[in-house]
């Protein structure tokens, strides 16, 4: 492909799944029951695996750019890597960028909260990821389409598992219902960003990766409503307003997450297992 304008969009896609995978992994050893602990750990594994494929693809794309194209994305590259004197690799992108260089949705970086919060976020995100990746199957970047195809099978499990939990909590006890409603109040303001067009989508479209955000939103609402109906929940009527992640403007929680996630690669650059 001669066009590299979707480099930032690839980072956005990768950052979403890496950061959510990192958040979910905080439950490892702390799940409410062994099976659910394992379930969430498996979901994290899938998400981090997807991130790895996306970062590897982005790194390969960068390495084949000419100097003109490289200069245009220089602000997105990890500073420590520039001293390594070698080609860009997936781990550099995952672990060595600064906070403002991450382009993930804010909803993915929020602290894990209680079980209801983690479940509802996963359900919202998986329902979104399913529609988005379905559109990516049609894109001009065949490697990205391949990653989407691979990931979609996993996303189907994530959506099914989290939806069943949303129903169990919504339709469960007074306490579980109170908690899932609280989670909804907290999460809802962050759902708008999923469907808000930014420069990322414009740049991606230039490279032949066209996502139709309104279409994704309509399908997403349909899925969420179907789950909520069984859970006895209703979608809030308030307008979601929180945004900024796609432009590198993050919540106060992001820095702490990165500090933990990046510690090893920062302290021991190029460390390998």
């Amino acid at each position: 492909m001669a066009n590299y304008t979707h480099f930032s969009y690839l980072l956005h896609l990768a950052d979403n799944v890496l950061i959510l995978g990192q958040r979910n992994a905080e439950w490892t050893g702390h799940g409410p029951a062994l099976e659910q602990d394992i379930a969430l750990t498996n979901i994290s594994l899938d998400l981090v695996g997807q991130a790895r494929n996306l970062y590897a693809h982005a790194a390969a794309l960068y390495n084949e750019m000419d100097s003109g194209a490289k200069a245009l994305v220089d602000h997105l590259l990890p500073r420590p890597w520039k001293a390594f004197g070698r080609e860009l690799q997936e781990d550099d992108l995952a672990f060595l960028r600064d906070e403002r260089q991450y382009l993930n949705l804010l909803i993915t970086e929020l602290p894990k909260g209680d079980w209801a919060f983690t479940i509802l976020r996963q359900c919202f995100f998986s329902a979104y990821q399913k529609e988005l990746y379905n559109q990516l199957l049609q894109c001009n970047d065949y490697q990205l389409a391949g990653i989407a195809e691979k990931s979609l099978k996993e996303v189907a499990y994530h959506l099914r598992w989290s939806s069943e939990w949303v129903i169990r909590l919504g339709d469960g006890t007074d306490e579980s219902n109170r908690r899932i409603n609280n989670a909804m109040q907290e999460l809802w303001p962050f759902t708008g960003e999923l469907f808000t067009k930014t420069g990322l989508e414009t740049d991606a479209a230039q490279a032949g990766i066209v996502v139709h955000l309104q279409g994704i939103k309509d399908q997403w609402l349909q899925t969420v409503n179907a789950v909520f109906e069984q859970a006895g929940l209703t979608v809030p009527q308030t307008t979601p307003f929180q945004q900024g992640g796609k432009e590198g403007k993050h919540t106060e929680h992001m820095g702490y997450l990165l500090a933990e996630m990046q510690f090893l690669q920062r302290a021991y650059p190029n460390a390998a297992w």
Partner: protein, 174 residues
């Protein structure tokens, strides 16, 4: 396999496949990587450094940690047989499906106590809340229930048999 135009090469590649049969899935050691259906192609190329073997594999799940081990095991097994120039590449599309698992592999799974993926998948779709009826690998009863959609590895779910009371792994239809 496909794309082999030259007769002599075809013979050579045919010698590689049985060697790959000896490489096992580290997480389900009764299955070879051929049984699993993750080897997509074996291509022999004549290069300046001699004959090079290119092996194309596809991951079962994006984050499957076994893929690293499998690549290493392939390399070691081929070195053992004197093949030094081995290139292993991963291919994501078309995405791996349990349809590619061999029938023999499914029988081995069952004998090992893991319910194999359905021969004819019932609900390998994206719909919410569709359930599969899974047969108990021990007593063959269909009176089973799901304990957890996620099991000991990414590719398995956990079930319980209501007749013989055994809990068992199900290799998920994917």
């Amino acid at each position: 396999m496909n794309f082999l135009s030259h007769d002599i090469k075809a013979v050579d590649a045919a010698q590689i496949w049985p060697i790959l049969e000896e490489v096992k899935d580290p997480e389900v050691p009764v299955l070879s990587i051929i049984d699993l259906g993750i080897v997509r192609d074996v291509v022999l190329e004549n290069t300046e450094v001699g004959q090079t073997i290119r092996i194309v594999i596809t991951p079962t799940y994006s984050g499957c940690p076994a893929m690293e081990t499998i690549s290493m095991d392939i390399r070691l097994k081929l070195i053992e047989r004197g093949f030094r120039n081995v290139h292993i590449t991963q291919q994501l599309s078309p995405a791996w499906t349990t349809d590619w698992m061999s029938e023999r592999g499914k029988e081995k799974l069952k004998a090992f106590g893991i319910a194999p993926p359905h021969y004819k998948p019932q609900v390998c779709n994206m719909d919410l809340f569709s359930d599969e009826t899974i047969q108990c690998p021990r007593c063959n009863s269909y009176r089973t229930e799901l304990i957890s959609q996620f099991g000991s590895t990414a590719c398995k779910a956990l079930y319980r048999c209501n007749d013989c009371s055994e809990a068992f792994d199900y290799f998920k239809c994917h």
